[in-house]
Amino acid sequence: MSRYNRQIILSEIGQEGQDRISRAKVLVIGAGGLGCPVLQYLAAAGIGTLGIVDFDVVEESNLQRQILFGVSSLGQNKALAAKSRLLDLNPTIQIETYTDKFDEYNSLQLLRDYDIVVDCTDNFETRYIINDASVIESKPVVYGAIYKFEGQVSVFNFENGPSYRCLFPSLPEKETIPNCSVIGVLGVLSGIIGTMQANEVLKIVLKFKGVLSGELLCYNAKSAEIQILKFSKSKSEIERITKKSSLVLEGGRSSGPSMSKNEISFRDLKDIDTVQLVDVREPNEEPKIQNYMGLTVPFRELESRLDEISRDRTVILFCQQGLRSKKAVDLLRKHNINNTLSLREGAYGLIKLNKIDNDG
């Protein structure tokens, strides 16, 4: 195939390297300033399976740096808009999209199917969840972060190397560190840092030496200076992660919204056989629930299928991650159907519940 000719003729890559690239499965979390260049180069290089996680929609202020999107993508979910652009760039690869927020409930499940995780998020909460989940699932994380004219790149948890917590052990207090939407960012900087992340992904896939493990690359766009700072693994920090029973962050702080009275956790879901379960996801969405006996009413059809919703049993609505189902509960209550609750952890909660039941 001529598509990959220019990289296959590099003696360090060759057909064997290209085969590695096409077998690789890479999960990119965040399809924003960093995620766009990462996805663009990885798709172009022919990474066989790309997963894209983003719950956000494209806004005009994103176009200054989020290079996969154009005016026609405004208002669309970023993961879905990125997928349609990338399939035009390279229709030979597999692209999976996840349109719910990446959090402590779905993180382990999402990571499981991938070889490498790329952290392109814009907030500390998600970065710590990615780190902890990756340590638990033994996945390398290619990390990038930016601040105004400066960027950081590193690879965590690579072949038992140090993790993000070995560098910065705890989540900073909220509001001590502002993000791009508050302080601004140079568009080209996210391109430079994202492209460096894509390079690290390819180095891992191709088994090149010199992966930035235990090293934090610091780049300054104004001075064009790069300084690489080494750091060591902290066994106690790694143990602290592996011994944790859940991924809820320190201080009980969670990245997701707090529980509202219209929600229920799978942990509190008793007598599952007496409730009506309603899956409000689109039929093709993952994860599938085994032996599912409930209704499937995609959110967009809900208002036209109100007569299928039980009026006497408790109705538990769920989606992938508990956001659409919350909206669905609000919608049903507008129609005076009040016996409804949204499942906080979404489909992943049901899967966990099934596991608990099956394991006794």
């Binding site: 814009d122 930016i146 601040y147 400066e150 960012v185």
Partner: protein, 77 residues
């Protein structure tokens, strides 16, 4: 001894310079941070890493290099 200190990210904004020369009488990384917090009180609210010889050190380690880098975590993306 005289140290050349390089500031990353918002530390450079607080100090209003990318780097500066300072006379430091202490011994460890923790002494250095304590010394800098006197000069820049808002450093106290940041999680700051100290590096010498291109290596991030434990704050208990001795400062032996005359070139130091200080960096905070970033989260932007």
């Amino acid at each position: 001894m005289e140290l050349q200190i390089k500031y990353y990210g918002m530390l450079a904004e607080i100090s209003q310079c990318d780097e500066e020369l300072l006379n430091f009488d202490g011994t460890t990384g923790a002494d250095l941070l304590h010394f800098l917090i006197q000069k820049y009180p808002s450093f106290a609210t940041k999680d700051i890493k100290v590096a010498q010889y291109n290596q991030i050190i434990d704050l208990g380690n001795k400062i032996t290099s005359s070139e130091i880098a200080l960096l905070p975590p970033f989260s932007g993306g």
